[in-house]
Symmetry: D3
Subunit: 161 residues, 6 copies
């Protein structure tokens, strides 16, 4: 697999699910992040679950974990994989009305889990939006990006910013 | 349904799929946008499909349309809906390495389609990422937000920015 | 539809998804219950989430709500329906090591939601089992039954016990 | 994995899909049972398929097998697995109006298949209920439990009763 | 919608799920047929289920009914619909080694059910192939076609051959 | 596995997902073909995408690849597999109004991928039908068959015609 080609097309430009059968199964991990920006009052309410009791983050975490498993159904050219671990962390920044989401996905397989980690972040964020939209329709989901990945022939990727 | 409560929890804070059976079915539409930021060279390659032939945008559009239909499977408290239309538009900004995505979803039903439009944008963006990640792992998916919605008791929402 | 025939087979005994197109859409509700029987210590631990923090019931409730939406995928001859509401209640009986689960499902449609309510109870119970099985493999899921249903031509059913 | 902790939560009580990548893949089997209790006449009708021809048990068996494959979609923190075998047996007790269901699931993998076996039993029972509910709404699904499991580090479990 | 355009693309050739929200919901039906051609001995064995007991046709019928419900997940631009009825008939031609399959699907909705009927036939045929492939790998699935459709603005279609 | 038995039933004729845990994982490939027969004008329009721009084949290819991954959800007794590659080729015969479809599926696993290849062909063909049905309702999907398979204990199969 060259570094300067779109690998999801064959030589004639037709979409394919590329053959990974020749790659050795290795332990792989990917970490992705994203955020939901919202009114400070909305974030305060999410974090103040002792009073309101409705736990937005607990529901969104489940949405993210389940979405990681659904990645090959959502992303047409993704390979099915036997994920060995999915974890979702929340990093709230109350003064900025910003809720960071981090997903860590692991597998022992023939292809990486970047898409699974990114999909988990996206679904977690969408679920936060869904649960808060009655009070704040102007929330923005952003900065969904790969932070690092390890394992496989192409080696490690670590994001600088 | 008040405007200052999280409506996905009952009075004791337990997550519920809220009753919408009393709402009249009305024609509803939601428009959402988002973007993928990437190297200018990556975007040039995507847009230059006459030469490369591999059509990233055609595949990503299908991913987005299919994801809209999967929204109630991904977002735990979303109601199932009979979507009557889903359309995905791409607005490339080649000089900025920025590919904007817009999803428009319509329904005649008892609840809105914001989540379907936002989910369609997210899945379209994730699919673009997937197809280009061999050449550009540092892409960022961002600015996923509701642009406007119409129909239903709560009336229209139009984003200012 | 007679009351003394298996309605999921035609006159020759072949399985069919029976025609409901002639039935008027009406508001319908079904309530189902079930329970998980476990060691008292296991139930105490589930209920004591202030200390342990891991909220078994919050996760299981989401599993139940999502399973209600999946009913036509799981039960071969069930009709797809646009559920308007799904709610899951837990009724713990700590002294008996017994956790009762109640699901209430509503729809406006041409067929009832008994199966959706029963499926929600079963999935909620299975998820409780999954989350507690490391400490208590001998748990038993039982007494899954329809408590009441209303709406539709066949009228109301209310269980006596 | 300790025997006295809920393993589906991390140290802070957040739900996770626990890492199983360090476990060796081994051959594993799980056997689960459950039952549907019904009017004797209902069970007689189910068993008498030579006359009625509609084969409730054949349909329910397929529902159970397909549900076993869907377990990671239904149970949020379950790992995806490549099941190598699923079988469903029926053990009718006509004099008691009781239909026992037994599911046996096998895998070679890093985590057990208890949940797959229990889910298969539950779905089989729900399908029996669905197909018979026009003649007997008071049926009860019960006694869903793990009978035995083998393989993996935690060793064998065999139920006493 | 004109009769001489591909309606699944907009004016610029982009794939869309076309708006059907302006169409009146009407009762609609579609009938599709197809066949599996096989060795005469294979068909004899399928039909002789009194002896072998393994009922290929009962399993394949369930596969077809469930696939009809999955049509919008399989066919990217299909609308979700609330099917009101699905039935599968088998018409064996033992002397020709030919098993005909007919699916009838009904709905009250804003778009037709041709794709649901054709998908049901295809899945039924694929399941027959799967269950018989150990004895006959050279089977051919063919002649999958719409026989008739009724309802909707475009009126009835009845195939001549 | 004998060559003269239906392997999807046990000795008593009950449907099972047969145990494949004793088979060695090997590299396997299956190639299937099928076709859509249509008016010559319809095929011309599909192939002339430079003018119309709507790319029927690009959408249908994605439908086929995604359907291959869904095979165990569609075919009740199929085992889940980690497909390593899926590719769809189109071979148009414009003079005959005939569009051939070829799917190649690869895996390293304990059971073959014939069903995945056949399912991919069927879904690709159904999607072509869906996108063209507004101009040509009389299209026929046919000749879906296994062309060759390699790998596994039963060895290679190569079709003669």
């Amino acid at each position: 697999m060259s570094d300067n080609q779109f690998t999801h097309f064959d030589a004639e430009g037709k979409a394919i699910m590329v053959e990974v059968g020749d790659k050795a199964p290795t332990r792989r991990v990917a970490v992705a992040r994203g955020e939901v920006r919202m009114n400070e009052a909305t974030l305060t309410r999410i974090l103040d679950r002792g009073f309101e009791k409705g736990d937005v983050l607990a529901v969104a975490r489940i949405a993210g974990i389940m979405a990681a498993k659904k990645t090959p159904e959502l992303i047409p050219l993704c390979h099915p994989l036997l994920l060995t671990s999915v974890a979702i962390e929340f990093l709230p920044h109350p003064g900025e009305g910003r809720l960071e989401i981090e997903a860590t996905v692991k597998v022992a397989g023939q292809t990486g889990v970047e898409m699974e980690a990114l999909t988990a972040v996206a679904a977690t964020a969408l679920c936060v939006y869904d649960m808060c939209k009655a009070v704040d329709k102007a929330m923005v989901i952003g900065e969904i990006r790969l932070m690092e990945k390890h394992g496989g022939k192409s080696g490690s990727f670590i994001r600088n910013d």
